[in-house]
Symmetry: C2
Subunit: 365 residues, 2 copies
């Protein structure tokens, strides 16, 4: 059922956004567009500040809010301490920080913010897949009832982390996770049919903007490995990035080159990729970029030959897909599939986390 | 992140279960098994009563709870008014009724219970797909902040209703829903390859317990139509069952027979099903039992010929699958797939709803 239209239970959540880039801006658009509906449901998400790396805006500076005639918003130099203090406010209101930066220093602040009574939501994978001690400190800081949510770190807006959480919280037991967590690598594997060299496909994906500016950020598999670490930790398994077996598609001799030079030498990937494809075909299977995690905590990210009957053999070009095998879903796993990247769907994943926190707020005067 | 371990925010939710059948019993097992973990997270789900159709148990009757030496639980004749009053209690505690009956009279009570301050969770499709006025009364009764949740009405424990809710609440717009919502019909269509008549497959499914005791309850498509109505209403479209175009696989002349006689005349289905299969093959496609809903509120449940590249062409034997096409997920829809029936996964869907309500509880003394 929709957010209930309620007049008896009004809740206000002060929100501060860190990192107004493409995802952050899409989120601000979504918050604005849904404001009337949320208000009818008794929920006010009150944007109190936006912090970019160099400048920040606080609603107290807004001339319109202060009755001044000058309607231009005022920006001041960024100061994250001042920003967070402002969002928390002095009246014990509910407060939430949304970190859309990709900044490790910001991720290092989460535990402190949670301990200080501020909820945190992020699409940033650095906390969930970074140092285990930092992750454990963040979990510990939630003991006072604060919430840390990060659905959008894995497959953007697809319901992945929450689905795993619900399985575990209702007493199910995770046996394994299989996934294709990179739309770019899914596209490359789907298109890699032998009609053109792999390097030509990488160039095409690069031109289309499907890859990161440096395609090695996709081809290395490290971004996929981070997602696997996040899901493992969600299941209570203390996995770290360095324990994931990651097979990079980038030959070692190309790993450290400047990006322009790497792009010129892309055809050095072709022979080995052609051999992998021929091998897959000889086995009667398809070649896919495959992430796997088992209940012994073993995790791998690599090219794998999957049988043509495998559900991952028939995904749409750039789709992400994740499959949970659990005690209850042992014979037929639970599968979620769809686009796993893009500002709008990523913002929606963040927004759903915000709503989940808002649902749990106590009414404060 | 897991339910936070919190000592500062303890919540108690009084729970009454109506209908301790296979699903209800599985749920009681799950509640018992997870109790220690929930307690660590500061949540007590306190089972206050179980009501079957003829008898009910109230925790006040439990000799163990009353310090009496007789450890046998006491059952008394069922009285739903007394039952609900008991679960609500007199101290203004948070209370929740879980309806695992398949009883329309019970569904007619939801609005009254919600208005009286009791949350309701159910896997029972009758409220969500029954008379529109009753449905609207239930929604209206949630205005005071009570929650009515029914994830398990569509595809059991798969995250379907919540996923649609999140899309809409974050401002997305539903364009269409496609689904295969019957594991039985999915199995029949997957197995129907021409090597044996359709009737033989129905008999096999009946023997294996894949069908309802009367297979016409599956073959009629009405159960699938109910799920489509529930999703349409979730999207705010006032669809009723009588407006769904439902193509029954049961010929009209067999619809009213006693079930034994129907089973004897099953082969009357074969010629038309063989023709449908031949037609699908002539088109180069596969035959699937397909539910469809579009943004104009048009809804249909019928056999459809899908191209072999369609994701529904490659599902596992008895899997359910749902695909949401929205403004944000327009080119590549969002897809959820897996087993959509069975006591354990259905109970887990109910349990997830209970946890979602519990997360939103205010602490009361």
């Amino acid at each position: 059922m929709a957010l209930p239209a309620t007049t008896t239970r009004r809740r206000t959540l002060a929100v501060g956004l860190i990192g107004p880039g493409r995802v952050g801006s899409a989120l601000l658009d979504q918050l604005r567009a849904t404001q009337p509906r949320l208000a009818r449901a008794g929920l006010e998400l009150k944007l109190c500040g936006v912090a970019a790396s160099k400048r920040m805006w606080l609603d107290s500076d807004d001339p319109a809010l202060n009755g001044r005639s000058d309607s231009a918003q005022t920006w001041r130099p960024s100061d994250l301490n001042e920003f967070v203090d402002h969002v928390r406010g002095i009246d014990g209101r509910h407060a939430l920080l949304i970190d859309c930066s990709a900044n490790d220093t910001v991720a290092s602040r989460y535990a402190g913010w949670l301990a200080a009574g501020v909820h945190v939501v992020t699409p940033n994978k650095l906390a969930g897949s970074g140092p285990l001690t930092r992750w454990q400190a963040i979990r510990a800081a939630c003991a006072s009832g604060m919430r840390f949510r990060y659905e959008a770190t894995v497959c953007a807006g697809l319901p992945v982390v929450q689905t795993l959480r619900d399985l575990l919280d209702t007493g199910d037991e995770l046996l394994s996770v299989e996934g294709m967590f990179s739309g770019t690598l899914a596209w490359l594997c789907n298109r890699h049919d032998g009609s053109q060299p792999f390097s030509a496909l990488v160039r095409e994906a690069h031109t289309l903007g499907y890859t990161e500016p440096d395609p090695r950020d996709d081809l290395s598999g490290m971004d996929v490995a981070r997602k696997l670490v996040i899901l493992a930790r969600e299941a209570g398994w203390p996995l770290s990035l360095e324990n994931v077996e990651v097979q990079s598609l980038v030959p070692a001799e190309l790993a450290a080159l400047p990006v322009d030079e790497f792009m010129l030498r892309l055809d050095q990937l072709d022979a080995s990729m052609a051999a992998r494809l021929a091998d897959a075909r000889a086995q009667g299977g398809v070649l896919r970029h495959h992430a796997h995690l088992d209940a012994h905590g073993r995790a791998s990210v690599k090219l794998a030959v999957l049988p043509t009957g495998h559900p991952f053999a028939h995904t749409r070009l750039t789709d992400n897909v994740v499959q949970f095998t659990t005690r209850r879903y042992r014979d037929n796993p639970l599968l979620v599939q769809g686009p796993g990247a893009g500002p709008e769907v990523t913002a929606a994943g963040i927004f759903a986390d915000v709503l989940r926190i808002a649902e749990g707020l106590e009414v404060r005067a």
